[in-house]
Amino acid sequence: MPRAARNPEATQFGFAHVGDAGEKTQRVGHVFQRVAPRYDVMNDVMSGGWHRVWKNIFVDVVAPRAGENVLDVAGGTGDIAKRLLKKTGGAINLTLADLSPEMLSVGKRRMADAGYWNKVTWVQADAAALPFDDACFDVITIAFGLRNVTRIDDALAEFYRCLRTGGRFFCMEFSPQVAAPLAKPYALYRDHIIPRLGAVVAHDRAAYQYLAESIQKFPAPHALGARLQAAGFAHTRADPLMGGVVYIHRAWKG
C-alpha cells in the first residue's frame, strides 16, 4: 500500500467525522443495537430479496469443505453461517464472531429455529483484536461487515494472522463504484430511498442514512485489494455482482 494512513475509516461515521476510534465503534454499535430486531426484514425490503441471492453466490464461491475450521466475522444474524452449514451438511467447525451483542442474540434465536444453534461456536469479539490463536482457521468470511469495522487494516491483519498458510479469505461488501447504466438510479435509490425505507420499516432513518453513507465511504475494490496485499495476502481478486453494487473479494494466505 502507498504511504496512506492506516485505518483511515477509524474516525469516519458515514460522512461525519468523529473524534476518535472509540466514538466510531460506539456509534456503529448503537446502529446495530437499534436495527438488530428488524435487520433481516430490512435486508429483504432494501434489496428486494436480492441479498439472499448474493449470499447464496457468496457461499458457493467460499465452497467450504467438510472438516474445515471456518470463522464468520460480523456474522450477526447467522445468514452466512446458516448457508455454510447447509452447504456442507453441518460438517464444518464454524465459529461466528460479532461485536454486537444484540445481533448475536438475534442470530442465536434464528439459528436455534433452523436447528443449527449448537453447530456454531458464538463469540463476541472485535475484528481488529480477534481472540483466536494464530493459523487456526482454514477459511474466514465477512459479509456486509467490513464496512462497519472501525480499524479495517488492523482487522485485515488479524484475518491474515488467524488463517493457516493456504487459508482463504472472502469478503462480500457493497461498492462505492457501480457500472454506468446502473450508477445514477442506484445512487438515487441508495441515498434517497433507503433512508426513507429505514424510517418506515425499521423506524430508524438515521441508521439507514448511515448505511447509505458508509457504502460511499468504503474503499473501491482495487483499493481494498491493495490493502489486503499490504496485510500480507496474495492472489487478491474482486468480482462484481449486479453491475458492481456488491463485490466478492477473495484473498489467499500464501
Partner: protein, 66 residues
C-alpha cells in the same frame, strides 16, 4: 432460546480462544463463568454460552487469584 441457565462452553472453542490483548492462553473458570487470561490479569465473562472477548468488558482479576 433456553440453555437451562447453564452456560454451554463448546470444547472446540476453548482450543481456539486466546486473550485478545496478549494472545496468551485463557483458562475457563466454570464456577464464575469466566475465561481468565493470567497474563493480562483479565477475566472475560461468558454470558448465555457466549464468551465476551472484549477488554472493555473484562473484569480485572485481583492479585493472587491464580
Amino acid at each position: 432460546m433456553n440453555t437451562g441457565g447453564m452456560p454451554l462452553v463448546n470444547p472446540h472453542m476453548l482450543v481456539l480462544l486466546v486473550c485478545p490483548l496478549t494472545r496468551g492462553a485463557v483458562v475457563y473458570d466454570a464456577e464464575r463463568h469466566e475465561l481468565i487470561s493470567p497474563q493480562a490479569g483479565l477475566a472475560y465473562p461468558v454470558r448465555e454460552g457466549v464468551p465476551i472477548m472484549l477488554v472493555e468488558e473484562a473484569r480485572r482479576t485481583s492479585e493472587g487469584e491464580f
